[in-house]
């Protein structure tokens, strides 16, 4: 029998959290993020006001999504661009694939886009015989490893320089001697430069779609996004419908807040705005400009009064970075395009609550994610709501329902509850006494397999309360 997503999650989480090298790499990466993030936040005079402003901008946009998307579309079409509305991933992939085939595209250069990961665009193009180059350094690395991105902002943060140098030697050039990050970047640059100049099509995502100006906004540091959108003769933007914002001036706060939350920078190196194909008289730029607006389940979230705000997400990755669960189990364990708290909230909506409800439990509900979210999405409460929704939808196992029914029964009958507690303490004492802690016979196996058992109390809480605790 094949594993369910939940079984695979539990298995991978156990393996990854015991992988000391993985933990060390993530700890170091997150430590340097933490320092940069706090320093970045200190540069903004009123961080809370900035968060609230961003929340208001996104709320305004999402609450009038149809109007702003149409405004954006009209502007782009007026400049000679094309806008395609894709109900799902398949429609989006087919559109891009047909476009590429029709225009004789053989090579595509891509800048980082989580939406293209979500709809599996690259495999679709490669199946049609088109070579696809990921050009963001982190994406390039995970593409060479045939892996999905580990993190939505830093796709290769689970690897150290030694592993990357080895990969480059195997896949690119056996002559790469150094594992210095600067030399590895230079090696990738050399190879990808050829791709940029050979490619007929550049595919990018968009961080924002600006309605009043009718432009897409892309934030990048490496400049690969700039090259993808400057050199090839066709530029295709693949993005989610929720990325629209009302006004160009909104970027004056969204750009710094996105950069601060994403990497701790005051602003990302390149904030690029593109509104259409190359105009007559311009030196360069794509002759064809296409924007693919992907719905893929997003519009359904609008009707959810509790969780509509999940569409405010600007994909900065701050909730992943702070999440104690992400820091231990890592990005790949989630088995989803979007890992971490935002992924755990979003995935059941996009891919089905039944298969992905377990992600709602991959959280201690500590609330750290809600506290850092730059657009103030109340992630931890949404995880709790998803637990409730899964239960109400009958997505829980019958054994789980039975256990909770028994627990409820006992909770309402103090004597029964005391008896239950007493027998469990007795039984565990015998099992532990026989040295069977963590074995298949241990009901606490899930915990005790990898940890020493928590010492058993000699008496019940109720007994202790009666004796001394209650007296204070």
């Amino acid at each position: 029998m094949s594993q369910t997503a939940a079984q695979r999650f539990l298995h991978d989480a156990a393996v990854k959290s015991a992988d000391l090298m993985h933990r060390e790499i993530i700890r170091r990466g997150m430590d340097s993020y933490d320092v940069a993030h706090l320093k970045g936040r200190a540069r903004i005079k009123d961080w809370e006001a900035a968060r609230q402003k961003c929340q208001e901008i996104k709320r305004e946009a999402v609450n009038h999504l149809d109007r702003y998307l149409l405004q954006f579309e009209e502007k782009v079409i007026a400049r000679g661009g094309h806008v395609f509305w894709a109900a799902n991933g398949e429609e989006a992939c087919t559109y891009v694939k047909n476009l590429a085939t029709r225009l004789g595209v053989r090579t595509v250069v891509k800048s980082k886009s989580m939406v293209t990961e979500e709809i599996h665009l690259s495999p679709a193009l490669e199946k049609a015989g088109i070579k696809v180059w990921e050009t963001d350094l982190g994406e390039f690395i995970v593409q060479l490893r045939d892996e999905p991105p580990y993190h939505i902002v830093t796709p290769a943060m689970h690897l150290n320089r030694g592993q990357i140098a080895k990969l480059f030697r195997e896949k690119l050039d056996p002559g790469i001697g150094s594992d210095d990050p600067a030399d590895l970047m230079a090696a990738a640059r050399r190879i990808l430069r050829q791709a940029f100049f050979a490619a007929e099509m550049g595919i990018s995502g968009a961080n924002f779609l600006v309605a009043d100006a009718g432009v897409i906004a892309i934030s990048t540091n490496e400049g690969n996004g700039r090259l993808c959108t400057s050199i090839p003769r066709i530029h295709v933007v693949v993005t989610g419908i929720e990325k629209v914002i009302p006004r160009l001036e909104d970027l004056a706060v969204l750009w710094p807040v996105l950069a601060t939350s994403g990497t701790g920078q005051g602003i990302t190196t390149y904030g690029t705005l593109i509104g259409g194909p190359r105009r007559p008289g311009e030196v360069d730029g794509a002759e064809e400009f296409h924007v693919v607006l992907v719905d893929n389940g997003r519009s359904q979230l609008l009707a959810d009064a509790e969780q509509r705000e999940v569409l405010h997400c600007i994909r900065c990755g701050a909730c992943l970075n702070i999440c104690p669960v992400f820091r231990h189990v890592g990005g790949h364990t989630y088995g989803t395009t979007y890992p971490g708290p935002i992924g755990s909230v979003l995935t059941p909506h996009l891919n089905g609550i039944k298969e992905f409800k377990h992600l709602s439990y991959a959280s201690s509900l500590c609330g750290a994610c809600s506290s850092v979210c730059p657009v103030k999405i109340d992630l931890s409460h949404h995880l709790l709501q998803n637990r409730r929704n899964a239960t109400e939808a009958g997505a829980t196992k019958s054994s789980e329902r039975l256990i909770f029914r028994a627990w409820r029964y006992a909770m309402l009958r103090p004597r029964m509850y005391a008896l239950g507690g007493w027998s469990v303490r007795k039984a565990l004492r015998i099992i532990y006494g026989l040295g069977l802690a963590g074995s298949i016979l241990d009901p606490m196996r899930v915990w005790n397999r990898y940890r020493s058992p928590v010492p058993l109390p000699s008496e019940s809480f109720r007994a202790r309360w009666r004796k001394d605790l209650g007296a204070n």
């Binding site: 170091r28 208001e56 400049r79 600067a182 100006a213 419908i241 705005l273 030196v283 360069d284």
Partner: protein, 222 residues
């Protein structure tokens, strides 16, 4: 509208998605109170020039303050001399024609009117639409030598004057809106430093796919 029928055949899901969005939006979501007016998000900028210079340091870009066009030309010549052999791509603009004439670089010049910069360009020289003090950024559009001018070569040199300084991003963006820059240009970019990556072990590497050096020659007198 003639476009409607064409849009429908090319865009079979468009109406359905819009319908679903509208249906979803009929659900009323209570709104929390809005931001109190008068709350200041960013520190006000008192001295734009000083702030710009500070931010340039933070962004790992070079800013050379010059008194007049002769000094700017000397600065340009100095930067160009420090680079490996190869052509320089220059935005075809009267001000830059004059500057190049004064600087008289020994290397071949390719003007933007002759086409886009090639892969072999060692440097690009362009103007900017504005400089932003708050973030130490330069604002360029397609008019500044095109899209590739600020990203293809390993060194990007920007010739600007102090009069082009605006205090913050908000004022730069509202100027772009007011002057309808994005209707006359298919591209604009706010550039804050040279290209970089921290994708390997979060270690900063300056010079990724774009320029390793971004040099602003900032002239005080026009």
């Amino acid at each position: 509208m003639a476009q409607t029928s064409k849009a429908q055949t090319e865009n079979p899901s468009r109406e359905r998605i819009l319908e679903q969005i509208r249906a979803g939006l009929r659900t009323v979501v209570p709104e929390p109170p809005a931001l109190r007016s008068g709350q200041v998000i960013f520190e006000p900028i008192n001295n734009p020039l000083e702030r710009f210079q500070q931010e340039c340091v933070g962004n790992l870009m070079e800013c050379a303050l010059t008194a007049d066009s002769a000094a700017s030309a000397r600065q340009l010549a100095k930067v160009l001399q420090s680079l490996p052999e190869g052509e320089a791509f220059v935005q075809d603009d009267p001000a830059l024609r004059r500057l190049i004439e004064l600087a008289a670089p020994a290397r071949p010049i390719r003007w933007s009117s002759q086409g886009a910069p090639g892969e072999a360009s060692q440097a690009t020289v362009t103007l900017a639409e504005a400089l932003i003090a708050q973030t130490g950024s330069i604002l360029v559009t397609a008019s500044c030598g095109g899209r590739g001018a600020s990203v293809i070569a390993p060194c990007h040199i920007v010739y600007a004057t102090v009069a082009q300084l605006v205090p913050d991003l908000a004022s730069a963006l509202s100027r772009v809106s007011q002057e309808r820059k994005l209707d006359s240009n298919s591209f604009a970019c706010v550039i804050s430093g040279s290209s970089r990556t921290a994708d390997i072990e979060k270690i900063l590497v300056q010079g990724a796919h774009g320029p390793r050096r971004l040099v602003v020659i900032l002239q005080t007198v026009t």
